[in-house]
Subunit: 398 residues, 2 copies
């Protein structure tokens, strides 16, 4: 009856959305979402800060309409933060406050993508980006990847073939694989994209969550021409429901992102932006990050320990140095999507890996989140998934 | 150099955006924005409520990822509120939390509009809606209006000619004219739109700000087929920077709005939604509204008094019963846009009326906001604008 737009008429509940609903049931051990541990969320600190902000600042700052770019104090904090991340010479006109990192992905598509334009993504990549690209009716093409990052010969061939408007990447502790691109790979990606005028989205929600090894320079740090837009979020490092993130890019690009923001929701709430900048000013950011990382690392190690203990040796899984996810590859004859209802029946959830592939492949893969379950539940849940998988392997061999 | 999308490549700073910047200069008497009076913004109440929410509720509710539809407690409050506004039988699946009313307009276009689809609007209408429609590359057609609302013969002719996907209306204390459609007009609009399957957006940010006269039933209250999506915001009745609003419509339509929301920014912050629902629960909403309305009415009356005192009798202006705006029509030979720099030179700002016309007409009109200036500044500012206008009339006659 309703004449919906082409972009949305065939879209029903997104996988992400259904996942968020699954994980809200307390009797299910959920490795499905991408949530930081609820135990790590700083209610008390944010209460203290919110109370001070509303007590000390005038209503014109906290409650009246503000500018679309973001609250000045927040943007100043972000300028300093970008410096700490190794980006030099960042000015206020390089920055745009966002309502979560995902809004940055949407606004970048809004600024660049006409129907039919090509976007390159890593194969596999963040499933919500694939959904966003669908709402812009883009042609999404996957680029093959290995442990070092994107496979440069494949990238080069696809850049030349498609002249894509955008390359979307999660180069540090990637969603879903947990992989980190090497510095050499990053540098080469920027150079290849520059040669054909492709703009790069560096989506970095997980970069601060490193548990082992050394930081790799941001992909944006190799950008000499203004071709990289760096997006980082506080959803995983402070709290998801603040919905605060920031984009950093060339002023010309940021200007278009700002215009998109103006049109879609005018501006972020001031309160949540000010909470983040005060969280930095009071020294909570790095301090709390260290505490949370210790918890997440313990959970990651517990998940790997359980996998090593229970899972068939025919199954391959990543051993990430950070982020929130372990990526698992089952024997080719096991369909992780078909197996999911069996797992949920046994009160464990994960996400089938095919959701992360532009072409729907990867049927024998799954993504496991370790940050939002305690170590006991991790052991129980991994045991259940392992038993399911091991039984299928046994049946196949029989 | 950058290959921006068609929708945005020719878009520079929007009028709204520039207005927000103008009005942030304290030495300018601004009648330009659509802001509630800063003096009416409840910093202290919100501080009390935010502190209680963060102190009493668990982090899984306040800070963790939540559902795209909105926080359950907020939606329950909205269900009750819709009943108070005269909408019967509203269920949770009729509701979607929004980051400001404007996001509802954007998500409705996202759900319905393909490039080239027609949207009908009142001539003149909310300028930001015209900008949003541009980002969806819609064909926007203005419908003529009089003091009773839309001119039904013109509406009928354009519905039949264009079979528009959407009709966008601000039927109560309209932006920019301050006009309210009669109940008969509303009923007829719904019936005419139903006959061709056009969905109606009833944008109602101002409906609660009635200073004189009696409420008119919501346009949505005449909806028997699910063709009206009602959007109301707390930007003008609690605080703009909370960015909290709600859409109420048929479940099928709301589902598509939710999917759009999921893709663009996942969900609103929980904190701001909970602040609004607690603001209702503690009885502040209607109480504070009465206090604010007394102030806004005084300012409206002061502006009308000053216009009556200073302005040439050849100028026509509305005497609205509510909302935030007076709409002024100058003699045809005066161009309000051309005059604006002269006004700003003299430290007074307004918005040229042509911004509110889909076809760029209305060059001799302007919108005056009275809610965010005290009565002294209103007198001074209107005197300055009147002197400018009166001088032009005198020069024209000379």
């Amino acid at each position: 009856m309703y004449k919906f737009s082409d972009r949305i008429k065939n879209m029903d509940g997104t996988a992400t959305r259904e996942i968020l609903k699954l994980t809200s049931k307390p009797d299910i051990i959920s490795f499905a979402g991408g949530m930081p541990g609820t135990c790590c969320l700083p209610n008390d600190i944010i209460r203290e800060i919110a109370s001070d902000i509303l007590g000390n600042k005038s209503a014109v700052t906290t409650l009246q309409y503000g500018q679309s770019e973001g609250v000045k104090e927040f943007l100043e904090t972000m300028r300093g933060y970008m410096g700490e991340l190794g980006l030099k010479g960042v000015e206020l006109n390089n920055l745009q406050a966002l309502s979560g990192g995902q809004q940055g992905l949407d606004l970048m598509c809004k600024a660049f993508i006409n129907k039919g334009d090509t976007i390159l993504v890593e194969n596999p990549t963040y499933l919500a980006f694939l959904q966003i690209a669908n709402t812009y009716e883009a042609n999404v093409v996957g680029v093959d990847a290995d442990d070092n990052g994107l496979i440069l010969s494949d990238l080069e061939q696809k850049l030349n073939k498609y002249k894509p408007k955008l390359l979307y990447t999660v180069p540090t502790f990637s969603n879903p694989t947990g992989k980190t691109y090497t510095a050499e790979n990053r540098k080469a990606i920027v150079e290849l994209c520059d040669s054909v005028g492709t703009v790069i989205i560096e989506d970095d929600p997980y970069g601060r969550l490193r548990y082992d090894g050394k930081d790799v320079p941001l992909l944006k740090s190799f950008d000499k021409t203004g071709s990289v837009v760096y997006i980082t979020s506080f959803s995983k490092t402070i709290a998801p429901s603040l919905r605060v993130a920031v984009a950093c890019g060339a002023p010309e690009v940021i200007r278009k992102v700002t215009i998109g923001k103006q049109n879609t929701d005018v501006h972020n709430p001031a309160l949540t932006q000010l909470i983040v900048s005060e969280y930095f000013a009071r020294g909570y950011y790095y301090k709390k990050l260290e505490e949370n990382k210790a918890i997440f690392k313990e959970r990651k190690d517990a998940m790997l320990f359980a996998l090593d203990k229970y899972m068939s040796k025919e199954v391959v899984y990543t051993r990430p140095n950070g982020g929130l996810f372990i990526w698992m590859t089952l024997p080719e004859y096991i369909d992780a999507k078909a197996m999911l209802p069996e797992a949920i029946e046994k009160k464990v959830a994960y996400i089938q890996g095919c959701e992360f592939y532009a072409d729907g492949s990867g049927k024998n893969t799954m993504r496991l989140n370790f940050s939002n379950s305690d170590t006991d539940r991790i052991d129980t849940g991994i045991k259940i998934i392992s038993e399911l998988v091991n039984k299928k392997i046994k049946e196949h061999k029989a």
